[in-house]
C-alpha cells in the first residue's frame, strides 16, 4: 500500500496537498511544531478515524478536536490517494468535524468501495490502530513503548490467517486441494467439486441399481409365472393323449364310413344290372299308356262294388224285407182304421196327459166342493144371513167399482169424520177454557197492579203532603210512606208485567188453539156432510134406498166370510168346468180305441186301456213304416247299383276293350292290369337312380384312398401307441369329428394360454438379459469411477491436510522469521551486536562483541538509549516486515527514529531505511535538518535514495 498523495483541509494548522515519491525514503525535515506529527496523525486518522464515543482521559483533547481548524470553524478533512500493490488507486476521504464521514472510491472505476463498517485500516490492514502504530507508525514517544502482548497477538493472527499466506502458490495449492474440481462431461460441462461429482455418481448408481433391481424383480416374478405356466404342460400332455385317441377313433370311423360307402356302392351296382335286365324284359310293355290305369282300376273297382251292392240289395229284399213286410201288414190290419189313422206317439202322450189332468181336475172339484161346504157350515154356525148377504152383494157387485168402494167404506169414513170432529171440538173447548183461565189470571194480576200502583200514587201524594207539613215526624213518615209507595210501585209493575206475560204466554196461544180447533171441527163437519150427500146420490142413481146403506153396515162384519165363500164357489165352478172339458177331450181319443166308452164314465182304467191300444197300434204302424222305408231304400239302392255297375262296365270296356270270347270283364281287366304293371315297372326301373349319388369311379377311387389314408394314419398312431389298436368308433363320424374338433380347440386354447403366459414372462426375462448387463456394466463403471474419484478426493484431502499443517507450522514460526529479520537489520545498523535471538514473546537478546557474551533481553535494558532504540527499531521494522508479508507492504512512518543515534549509526540507519524503501514506503520525520543536509553532502549515493522535503511550503510536493 503506497500513499501517493495527502491533501489536508484545515487539519490543524495544515492545509494543502503533499505528494510522496515511491521507491524513495521520504524524509520530512521541519522544525518543531511545524506539523510533522500532524501530518503523521492526519494519515493515521485517515486510516483509523477516531470515534467520538471513545473514552479518554478527562483532560485529554479528543483527537478530532485536537486537529480542529486553527482558522475558521466547521469541517476539516484529509484526503489520501493510495495505491494498492495490484495497482488499484483508491481515494480515501475523511471529513471530520461535527458529522464525520469517510468515503473510499476506486479511482479508475469511479465506484465506491465498501468499508463494511470498518475503518480503512481494519478493513485493509486487518489490524487495530494500536497494532498499526506498534508496527508501522512509530511515534517519537512510543519508540520503546512496545506493547508486546498485543503485538504478539497481531503477529499470531497474521501468521495463521488464510489471507496472509507467505506464499501465493501455497494458497492456491491449498485452495485447489481443498475443493478440487474435476470435469466429466457426462455429469456436467463444467468442472464439479468431487463431493458433487460423487453425489451425482451415487445418484446415477442408485438409478442404475434401481433399474437393475426392477429388472431383477420382474425376472423373479416371471420365474414364478413361468413355473405356473409349466403347470399347464401336464394338462396339455393329458389333453394331447386324449386328442390322439380321439383322432384315432375318428380315423377309424372315417375309414369304416368310407368302406361302408364303397360296399354300398358295390351293392348298388349289382342292383343296377338287375334292373337293366328286367327292363329289357319289360320292353314290349313300355309303350303302354298308364295314364288311365288308375281310372281303369277305379272303374273296375267301382263296377265290382256296384255289382256287389246290387246283389246284396236283391238278397235283402228277397230274404229279409219281404217276409217282414207281410207280417207287419197282418198285424196292422187288426186295428181299426180310425185308430190306425190317429195312433201316434203324440196321441199316446196326449192321452196320458189328459188322464193326468182329468184326475187332477176331479180332485180339485172335490176339494173345492168340500171347501165351500165348510165355509157355508161356518157361516151358518155364526148366524150369517147368507141369503141376504148374497142379495146385497149382488146389487153391490152390479155397481161400478168406485161407487161400490165408496158404499162399502161409507160407514167407516163417516165414523172417522165424526170422531175427528168431536176431537176438534174438545180441543177447542179446552183451549177456550185455558184462554178464559189466562184471562182471569191476567185480570187478576192487572187488578193487583192497578191497586199497587194506585197505592203507590197515594203514598206519594201523602208523602208530599207530609213533607209539606214541615214536621219532622211528618217527614219521617213521609219518607216511610214514600218508601212504601215505591215498593208498592215496584211490586205493582211486576204484577203488571206478569199479567202481560200471562197474556202472551197463556191466553194468546190458547186462544189460537181454540180457533184452530174450532176451524178443524168445522171442516170435518163439512166433509161429513159431503160424504152423506155423495152416498145418497149414489143410492139414488142406482135405485137403492137408504136402507141399503144400513144393510151394508149391518153386513159389513160378514164381508170377509162372504167373500171367502164366494171365492170358493167360483173356484168350485171353475174346477168342475175344467174337469168336464178334460174328460171330453180325452173321450175324443179314447173312443178310437174303446169305441164303447162314454165321456161320463171315462175313468182311468178306460183311458189306460185306450192308451195301451194306441201304443200297440203305434208300434205296429211304426214297424210297418220302418220296414217299408227300408225296403224302399233297398230297392233304390238296388237300382242305383245296377245302374252304376252298368255304367262302370261300359266305361271300363271302353278303356280296356271288351272281353273276348268267354272272358269275363274281370278277367279282361286282370289282363289289362298285368300289362300295366309291367309297363309301370319298366318306367319305374327306367326312372330309378342309385341312392347316395355315388355314380363315378373317381368318387369310388377317392373313397378308397381316403379309407387307405385313414388306415395308414391309424397304423402310424398304433406304432407309437399300441393301446390305440383296441379303440373302436363309439359314435358316428360326424359326432366323433365334432368331439375331435372340440379337443383340438381346447388344446389350442391351453397351448395359447401356455404360450402367452410364457411369452409375457419370457419377454420380461429377455428384457432382463438384454438390459441387465448394460446396467451391471454401467454400475461397475460408475463404481470404478466413484472409487477413483473418492480415492482422488481422499488423496487431495490428505495433501491438503498436510500442506495446511505445514503452512501453519511455517507461519507459526514467526519468531524465527522475526529473529532473522532483526538480526539482519541489526547487522546493517551496527557491528557491535550479532547473533540476535527473538523469542515468541518478542524478547530480544544479542551477542555483544564488546562484552564478549550474549546479552539477555533484560540486560539490553541497561544499554544506552541509542542502543536500545536501535534494538527497538530493528525489532519493529522486522515485525513490520513480517506483517507486511501477510497484510501487504504498508507505509512505514518513523517519527524522529535516530534521535539518540550517533552519526555513524545514523548513516547506517538511513542506508537501511533507504534499502527498506525499495520494499516499503518509508516516511521519516525529523527536526534535525542539518543532519540530512550533511548526509547529502557526505553520502551523495545515499542521498539519491532520499527524498527530503519541508512542510513550510504547502502545495509543494514532498
Amino acid at each position: 500500500m503506497l500513499i501517493r498523495r495527502v491533501t489536508l483541509r484545515s487539519f490543524g494548522r495544515l492545509s494543502g496537498t503533499f505528494r510522496f515519491e515511491p521507491g524513495c525514503c521520504n524524509v520530512v525535515c521541519e522544525r518543531n511544531e511545524a506539523g510533522k506529527s500532524t501530518l503523521v496523525d492526519a494519515i493515521l486518522y485517515s486510516f483509523y478515524p477516531p470515534q467520538r464515543s471513545r473514552r479518554g482521559r478527562r483532560n485529554d483533547l479528543h483527537p478530532l478536536d485536537k486537529y480542529a481548524p486553527w482558522a475558521g470553524t466547521g469541517s476539516y478533512g484529509v484526503e489520501l490517494e493510495l495505491e494498492e500493490p495490484g495497482g488499484r488507486r483508491l481515494l480515501l476521504v475523511n471529513e471530520f468535524g461535527n458529522t464525520p464521514r469517510t468515503t473510499l472510491t476506486d479511482l479508475k472505476a469511479g465506484t465506491p468501495v465498501p468499508l463494511d463498517r470498518q475503518s480503512f485500516g481494519e478493513r485493509f490492514f486487518r489490524m487495530s490502530q494500536a497494532s498499526f502504530l506498534q508496527c508501522f507508525f512509530l511515534r517519537q514517544d512510543e519508540r520503546e513503548a512496545l506493547d508486546r502482548g498485543e503485538l504478539v497477538q497481531v503477529i499470531e493472527r497474521a501468521a495463521v490467517s488464510d489471507r496472509r499466506r507467505e506464499d501465493a502458490p501455497v494458497r492456491a495449492a491449498l485452495e485447489a486441494l481443498k475443493t478440487p474440481r474435476l470435469r466429466y462431461d457426462e455429469f456436467s460441462s463444467n468442472p464439479l467439486q468431487t463431493a458433487t461429482l460423487l453425489s451425482r455418481i451415487e445418484e446415477r448408481l442408485r438409478e442404475e441399481q434401481s433399474r437393475l433391481d426392477n429388472l431383477e424383480a420382474d425376472r423373479a416374478r416371471c420365474a414364478q409365472e413361468i413355473a405356473a405356466a409349466e403347470g399347464l404342460d401336464a394338462q396339455i400332455e393329458a389333453l394331447s393323449e386324449t386328442l390322439v385317441r380321439a383322432d384315432y377313433e375318428c380315423l377309424a370311423a372315417e375309414a369304416a364310413e368310407a368302406e361302408a360307402t364303397l360296399e354300398r356302392h358295390a351293392r348298388l351296382a349289382e342292383t343296377q344290372a338287375a334292373r337293366e335286365a328286367r327292363m329289357a324284359e319289360l320292353e314290349p310293355y313300355a309303350a303302354m299308356d298308364l295314364s288311365r290305369r288308375d281310372e281303369a282300376r277305379r272303374l273296375h273297382a267301382e263296377w265290382l262294388a256296384q255289382s256287389d251292392r246290387a246283389q246284396e240289395a236283391r238278397r235283402r229284399l228277397a230274404e229279409d224285407m219281404q217276409p217282414a213286410l207281410e207280417e207287419t201288414a197282418g198285424k196292422l190290419a187288426q186295428f181299426a182304421p180310425a185308430l190306425r189313422e190317429r195312433a201316434s206317439r203324440a196321441a199316446v202322450e196326449r192321452l196320458r196327459a189328459l188322464m193326468t189332468r182329468l184326475e187332477a181336475a176331479r180332485e180339485e172339484v172335490a176339494r173345492q166342493r168340500q171347501h165351500c161346504e165348510t165355509l157355508r157350515t161356518a157361516m151358518a154356525a155364526q148366524g150369517m144371513p147368507l141369503e141376504a148377504y148374497q142379495q146385497v152383494t149382488q146389487k153391490l157387485d152390479a155397481l161400478p167399482e168406485p161407487e161400490r168402494q165408496m158404499l162399502l167404506t161409507y160407514h167407516q169414513r163417516k165414523s172417522e169424520l165424526e170422531a175427528s170432529a168431536a176431537e176438534a171440538s174438545r180441543r177447542a173447548a179446552e183451549a177456550e177454557a185455558r184462554a178464559a183461565t189466562a184471562r182471569a189470571d191476567r185480570e187478576r194480576l192487572q187488578g193487583r197492579a192497578y191497586m199497587l200502583l194506585g197505592a203507590s200514587a197515594a203514598s206519594v201524594v201523602g208523602a208530599v203532603l207530609l213533607i209539606l207539613m214541615n214536621l219532622l215526624w211528618a217527614q219521617v213518615v213521609a219518607g216511610l210512606i214514600l218508601l212504601a209507595g215505591v215498593a208498592a210501585a215496584v211490586v205493582g209493575l211486576r204484577q203488571w208485567k206478569q199479567a202481560q206475560r200471562v197474556e202472551a204466554e197463556q191466553r194468546d196461544p190458547a186462544r189460537q188453539e181454540q180457533l184452530a180447533a174450532t176451524a178443524e171441527a168445522s171442516r170435518l163437519s163439512e166433509r161429513l156432510a159431503a160424504l152423506r150427500s155423495e152416498a145418497e146420490e149414489t143410492l139414488q142413481r142406482h135405485g137403492l134406498d137408504a136402507a141399503y146403506l144400513d144393510h151394508l153396515r149391518d153386513l159389513g162384519p160378514w164381508a170377509r166370510q162372504a167373500g171367502e165363500y164366494q171365492a170358493a164357489k167360483q173356484a168350485l165352478e171353475q174346477a168342475e168346468a175344467t174337469a168336464a172339458h178334460t174328460a171330453d177331450e180325452a173321450w175324443q181319443l179314447v173312443r178310437l180305441a174303446v169305441p164303447d166308452a162314454e165321456p161320463q164314465g171315462l175313468d182311468t182304467a178306460v183311458i189306460e186301456r185306450a192308451i195301451g191300444a194306441f201304443e200297440q197300434c203305434v208300434e205296429v204302424s211304426e214297424a210297418a213304416a220302418r220296414l217299408e222305408s227300408e225296403a224302399s231304400r233297398v230297392r233304390e239302392e238296388l237300382e242305383a247299383a245296377q245302374s252304376s255297375a252298368e255304367s262302370r262296365r261300359a266305361a271300363l270296356e271302353a278303356l280296356i276293350g271288351p272281353p273276348s270270347g268267354r272272358q269275363s270283364l274281370s278277367d279282361a281287366y286282370a289282363e289289362y292290369e298285368r300289362r300295366c304293371e309291367f309297363a309301370a315297372e319298366y318306367h319305374r326301373l327306367a326312372g330309378e337312380r342309385p341312392p347316395g349319388g355315388l355314380s363315378t369311379e373317381e368318387e369310388c377311387a377317392n373313397l378308397e384312398r381316403l379309407a387307405a389314408a385313414a388306415r395308414a394314419r391309424m397304423a402310424e398312431l398304433v406304432s407309437q401307441d399300441a393301446s390305440l389298436a383296441s379303440i373302436r368308433p363309439s359314435a358316428p363320424r360326424a359326432e366323433l369329428q365334432a368331439r375331435l374338433d372340440d379337443l383340438k380347440a381346447r388344446l389350442h386354447d391351453l397351448r395359447l394360454r401356455r404360450v402367452n403366459a410364457f411369452k409375457d414372462a419370457d419377454q420380461a426375462i429377455e428384457r432382463w438379459r438384454r438390459e441387465g448387463p448394460n446396467h451391471t456394466a454401467e454400475i461397475a463403471r460408475l463404481e470404478t469411477l466413484r472409487d477413483t474419484i473418492a480415492g482422488f478426493q481422499q488423496a487431495a484431502a490428505l495433501a491438503h491436510e498436510e500442506l495446511a499443517a505445514i503452512s501453519e507450522q511455517v507461519f507459526s514460526r514467526w519468531a524465527v522469521e522475526i529473529e532473522r529479520g532483526v538480526g539482519g537489520i541489526i547487522s546493517q545498523i551496527t557491528d557491535r551486536y550479532s547473533d540476535v535471538t527473538v523469542t515468541e514473546d518478542l524478547d530480544v537478546s544479542v551477542f555483544s562483541h564488546e562484552a564478549g557474551r550474549r546479552l539477555s533481553s533484560r540486560e539490553l535494558a541497561y544499554l544506552s538509549t541509542g542502543a536500545r532504540g536501535q534494538m527497538a527499531l530493528a525489532l519493529r521494522v522486522a515485525v513490520s516486515e513480517y506483517l507486511s508479508e501477510h497484510c501487504g507492504l504498508l507505509p512505514l512512518a518513523l517519527d524522529e527514529p535516530f534521535g539518540h543515534w550517533d552519526d555513524e549509526r545514523f548513516v547506517a540507519g538511513m542506508r537501511f531505511l533507504s534499502a527498506l524503501a525499495s520494499r516499503h514506503q518509508v516516511l521519516v520525520l525529523s527536526c534535525h535538518g542539518w543532519r540530512f543536509e550533511r548526509l547529502v553532502q557526505t553520502h551523495p549515493d545515499l542521498a539519491k535514495s532520499l527524498h527530503i522535503t519541508r512542510l513550510e511550503n504547502p502545495g509543494k510536493s514532498l
Partner: protein
C-alpha cells in the same frame, strides 16, 4: 492350437480288459458374458467377437471329439452367463451338442447358468423358446441334489451330477457322505464347485459348492469333471492318478485367465484317469497377456509412450489376436498428467489392448526435496518430508501406500499449479 500333455510318473499299465471311457471335458465358457467390471473394458463389438471365438471353439471342440473318438462329453457348468445369454447363443450350444450325437453330453449347470424355470438347460423352457426339445444325446442334471444318471451308450458307467438353481453361492458340502449305487462300475462325477483346500489356481473365483481333495477321493468316484475355476488344475490321489480336473476356460477373456487354455481329453478307467491319457487341447488362438512397461520423464507425449509400449509388446511376442493389459510403471514428467493414446493405435496393437496408467507417477525430484537443505525449508520440501513419513508408516498397507503416494503427487501438482486430476486406466 497346441496340446499340453499332463506328464505323470509311470504307473502300472491299466489292463485292456477293464472298461474305459474316453471323454472330452470343457466348461466355463461364459457365453455372452457382459464382462462387467472387467478392467479390460471390452466394447460391445469386441465382446461379440469374443462370443464368436467361443462359438468357434465349440465347433472345434466337436471336431476334436470326433478326432479323439470320445465316448462322452462332460460339461461341468457355466457354459453361459444366464443374465445376458442370448437365445441364439444357447441354441447354438445345444445345436453343437446335437452334432456330437450319438455321443452323450452330460451337463451340470453351474452358478452362472443355473437350472431354473427360465434356463435354457430346462427342457421345458428350451422347447418353449426353440420350438424343439433338447437333443436326445444331452443329459442335464436338473436337481440340486446329487443324482445318478445312465446313458444307453455306456451301460457300464454311472454319471453323477447336480445343478445350481440360482447364482447364489452354495455352502453345503455336496460330496460329504456320498456313496455310489454301483461301485463296481465306472462312476463319473460332473460337478460345478470349488476345491477349498487349494488356494493356488483359484484366482478371483468365489467359493461355492465347496469340497476338499479328501472329500472327493472319499466319495469314490473314478473321475470328477470339475468346473468353476478358470485355470486348469488336477486332483490326484496318493498313487498319483488323476481323479479330478478343472479344464479351465476354453477361451480366455479375463485378466485372471492368462496362460494356455483349452479342453480336456482323456480316458477314464476304474480308479481314475488312465495315466498319460489326459491332455489339454487348445481351441482358441487368443491369449490374455499382462505386460509392464516402464516409462520415464523422457517420454513427454503419447507418441513416445506408444513407441515404447509397441516395443514391449513386440518383445513379449504378443500377436494381433491377443488381449493385452499393459501396465505403465515409472515416473513421467510432472507436466504429463496422462497419455491420451490413439484408439487406432490400440486397435492395431492387438485384438484388444488396455493401458493402465494408474501406477504412473509424476517425476518430482523427491530426493532433492527430501535432502536438499534449502528445499527442506520450503513448503514443498516440508510437504514431501511429511508425506515420506506417512509412506513409511503405511508400509505393509498397499491401499494406504497408494493413497499417500497419490496425495503426495497431488500436493506437489497443486504446489506447482498443475491441474489436479486422477490418473485412469485407458
Amino acid at each position: 492350437m497346441h496340446e499340453t500333455r499332463c506328464h505323470r510318473p509311470a504307473r502300472p499299465p491299466v489292463s485292456d480288459a477293464m472298461s474305459r471311457v474316453r471323454f472330452l471335458q470343457f466348461s466355463d465358457c461364459h457365453l455372452d458374458s457382459a464382462l462387467a467390471g472387467s478392467r479390460l473394458g471390452f466394447p460391445p463389438d469386441k465382446r461379440a467377437r469374443l462370443n464368436r471365438d467361443i462359438e468357434a471353439a465349440l465347433t472345434r471342440m466337436v471336431e476334436i471329439a470326433r478326432e479323439e473318438q470320445v465316448e462322452v462329453v462332460l460339461c461341468p457348468g457355466d457354459l453361459w452367463d444366464d443374465e445376458s445369454v442370448a437365445f441364439t447363443s444357447a441354441t447354438f450350444l445345444y445345436d453343437t451338442f446335437a452334432l456330437l450325437a450319438p455321443v452323450p453330453v452330460l451337463v451340470a449347470p453351474g452358478n452362472h447358468d443355473p437350472f431354473n424355470a427360465f434356463s435354457y438347460h430346462n427342457p421345458a423352457y428350451y422347447k418353449s423358446k426353440a420350438g424343439r426339445p433338447h437333443p436326445r444325446n444331452v443329459v442335464v442334471f436338473g436337481s440340486p441334489r446329487l443324482e445318478r444318471r445312465t446313458v444307453a451308450a455306456l451301460p457300464d458307467v454311472d454319471f453323477y451330477g447336480c445343478c445350481f438353481e440360482a447364482n447364489v453361492p452354495r455352502t453345503d458340502r455336496i460330496l460329504a457322505g456320498v456313496r455310489q449305487a454301483r461301485p463296481d462300475m465306472i462312476n463319473i462325477l460332473v460337478l460345478h464347485g470349488s476345491r477349498d483346500d487349494l488356494v493356488a489356481g483359484r484366482g478371483e473365483r468365489a467359493l461355492t459348492a465347496p469340497f476338499s481333495r479328501d472329500e472327493l477321493l472319499a466319495a469314490g468316484f473314478d473321475y470328477a469333471a470339475l468346473g468353476h475355476y478358470h485355470r486348469y488344475s488336477v486332483i490326484e490321489d496318493d498313487s498319483g492318478r488323476v481323479r479330478g480336473a478343472y479344464a479351465g476356460v476354453p477361451v480366455p477373456r479375463g485378466l485372471d485367465e492368462t496362460g494356455d487354455h483349452g479342453v480336456l481329453v482323456g480316458e477314464i478307467a476304474e480308479g481314475g484317469v488312465v495315466p498319460g491319457s489326459l491332455k489339454r487341447i487348445s481351441v482358441s488362438p487368443r491369449r490374455v497377456l499382462r505386460l509392464e512397461v516402464e516409462v520415464d520423464a523422457s517420454l513427454l507425449n503419447a507418441a513416445a509412450a506408444q513407441e515404447r509400449i509397441s516395443g514391449a509388446v513386440a518383445a513379449a511376442g504378443a500377436s494381433a489376436e491377443d488381449i493385452l493389459y499393459i501396465t505403465l510403471t515409472g515416473r513421467t514428467h510432472p507436466d504429463v498428467t496422462g497419455f491420451d493414446f490413439d484408439p487406432a493405435w490400440l486397435d492395431d496393437l492387438a485384438f484388444h489392448a488396455v493401458v493402465d496408467q494408474s501406477r504412473v507417477e509424476p517425476d518430482y525430484n523427491l530426493d532433492a526435496l527430501l535432502h536438499d537443505e534449502t528445499a527442506c525449508k520450503r513448503i514443498e520440501g516440508q510437504f514431501a518430508a511429511r508425506m515420506k513419513r506417512l509412506l513409511d508408516e503405511a508400509a505393509g498397507d498397499p491401499a494406504r501406500e497408494r493413497l499417500v503416494r497419490q496425495a503426495l503427487h497431488l500436493g506437489l501438482d497443486a504446489l506447482h499449479g498443475r491441474e489436479l486430476r486422477p490418473r485412469h486406466v485407458c
